[in-house]
Symmetry: C2
């Protein structure tokens, strides 16, 4: 068994659930937030710091790693875990999303995707089989199937074609893992990705194709690409209602605290997102009462921690005044300290969500969280007032 999932608790009033996933490199609890170590490093954070923050599983990006240092190089160096010094579970994406969002001259056909590297323009091909082979070379615990993304809005026939291709590619990925297993490789778990954009019928049709395949879990793909929170959450609700209860569900690239809390309420188990850490590196952090802009002049003499309700290393050691000083004067230290908070904050959020599910009161947790998050308490007035004008990073991957 590459992966086992135990459903440990279900909420009373919502589809929220708490579980436990076991992989070759250990166990993680769900709901889980996966810090993103794009190129085998969660920027500025050591494996020990991630562990101390409560991190149990990391995500790494296949596209980036296959360009640099190369999947075979990682394999030669003993695989991703050894390479980056992380002994817990790792999930890798298929590379498809980054091919579509970063690389140039993408050409998709039935066989796969042809593209040019965003680094040096070199020409590459990624087929569903390649995606599995590369992730196997990296030594991942949970691999993702290559899916076809379409840019929305798209005509119905384009969405339809992408769904059909996604299902065919899903099947080819599983077959490739079987071939690897015949050679003693391919030990990793594999998740299928549901597509269909915001079209509920297409998503249902896609899942009809996927559900007969022996995937170890299912991901919700093609969402949070501009459709808006309300519509996105509707599709999350729809997908989760179709997905089997006994397998983990992963909402890819989502990340804003509100989205995470709302998606858990609809039955999602796993999340990843660069938003919290990327924002942090740019000087904006999520705290329990909203979004705090570190450089705000109002914090010049503010001795409170970023988040008075947080017990991370940064919040137990440093004042807003100090961090604001670092933002202006020692940026690389601010990046470090803010990243610690950012990761800790998301991990604490899903841990508390889990506790609420286990206690059967997730709906109350959600209400309390949202009221508090929207209160702006402890935030500088300027920040609250200017919230709409601040350059908030909303891109999720």
């Amino acid at each position: 068994m590459a992966l086992s999932f135990t459903l440990e608790a279900e909420d009373q009033a919502t589809p929220a659930r708490a579980g436990r996933v076991t992989t070759a490199h250990g166990t993680f609890q769900t709901p889980a937030f996966m810090p993103v170590g794009t190129a085998a490093s969660v920027k500025t954070l050591t494996p020990d710091e991630l562990h101390a923050a409560g991190g149990e599983i990391l995500l790494a990006n296949t596209y980036h790693l296959s360009l640099r240092p190369g999947a075979e190089t990682v394999r030669e160096l003993g695989g991703l875990h050894r390479f980056m010094g992380w002994n817990g579970p790792i999930l890798t994406d298929s590379g498809g999303f980054q091919v579509m969002s970063l690389s140039a001259l993408r050409k998709v056909d039935d066989d796969g995707v042809e593209f040019r590297s965003h680094l040096d323009g070199s020409r590459h091909r990624l087929t569903p089989e390649d995606a599995i082979q590369i992730q196997d070379a990296l030594g991942t615990d949970i691999a993702m199937s290559l899916d076809q993304l379409v840019e929305l809005p798209a005509p119905p026939d384009v969405v339809r074609e992408a769904v059909d291709r996604t299902v065919r590619w899903a099947s080819r990925g599983l077959a490739e893992r079987e071939r690897l297993r015949e050679r003693g490789l391919g030990a990793m778990a594999l998740f299928g990705i549901n597509q269909g954009g915001v079209d509920a019928d297409e998503r249902r049709r896609c899942f009809t194709g996927l559900q007969v395949l022996p995937f170890d879990g299912y991901a919700l793909g093609g969402l949070w690409v501009g459709e808006g929170r309300t519509l996105g959450l509707e599709r999350v609700e729809g997908d989760c209602a179709m997905f089997p209860k006994g397998k983990p569900r992963y909402l890819m690239g989502v990340g804003h605290p509100i989205d995470v809390v709302e998606a858990i309420a609809r039955g999602v188990d796993m999340f990843d997102c660069v938003l919290p850490t990327r924002n942090a590196r740019r000087g904006t952090v999520f705290i329990s009462t909203g979004r705090l802009v570190v450089k705000n002049a109002a914090y010049r003499l503010d001795e409170r921690p970023l988040d008075p309700a947080c017990d991370c290393y940064t919040c137990t050691r440093f004042s807003r005044a100090y961090l604001r000083h670092l933002f202006s004067v020692v940026a690389v230290s601010l990046i470090k300290h803010a990243s610690i908070h950012a990761v800790h904050h998301m991990l604490q959020l899903v841990r508390r969500a889990r506790e609420a599910v286990t206690a059967g009161c997730y709906d109350r947790f959600r209400t309390t969280f949202l009221e508090r998050y929207q209160s702006g308490e402890t935030l500088a007035p300027e920040t609250v007032g200017a919230r709409g004008r601040e350059p908030e990073e909303t891109e999720s991957r």
Copy 2:
């Protein structure tokens, strides 16, 4: 007593010594290397990491802190220790060196230095009294007297005038600390700085003026500014021979491992330098067998740590291959990991030097260290061959 110094051991064959300095914020052993937290942060490193690396005392720069966030702001926030979350001893410089090296339109007269900020061109004055007041506001444990630097080579009368002024300013600094003490402030220790450039007679004359003043320690100023290692070490030898045995001796801004080992052999107790950490941020680290250029292609598949003889977090966790990957792809993580090694390496070096002094075999330690450092063992051939061409950072402050 603002500071007490205990001489614990003297080497047999060299003037090397081992001691212990006690300040208001605790004790540090000598020989000591002070990591530099220019603007109240040793870049990317937390206080806990500095502590874990064996750091006992930090240096912070008065010039930078008095411009941003301002000495009074730091005082309002409870002083430098509380501001930056470091509870051990802190030494601050007088600000004079940075005024001369960073700011524009410097004008020196008997009263002090007038200069424009390198940040915004604003006009400032720094007198010997100001330097003491600012350092007191920062809440430092060891303050430095304002001295006058001259750019070398300089005509004898310019050096002579600077020496005279340095002695007068030293006296004024001490008087200012007395005035502060009458108001219940000025608890810090104060070091005098010996000047005279590379002129042995002028340095002797300068110290003649300083030695009658009640300083808590003495610093060697005006060296390592281009005169070369041989001449610099000669002046170190001369100064240390004049300095009283019962007070700590601090060679400012020196930090290449060879310089540190050679200066300890001449009787120096304290060092600070940005060189190891600045080089590390740029991808070059000192290891026990020389200087390692992380990006060297030869390390692509090298699974050894940066320094096989080092037990720092970075060396016990990560391979050269991984760090080389980070250098190209996740620079901010390389900065963090390399900085940990850099600080640890210097602190381990002075700790071992101390052990050798205590064992009475410092001369053998020095010989072994130099042979090993110059061996280039474990370094990639390209690095050894190209050593002279690598852009080594030699500026010390």
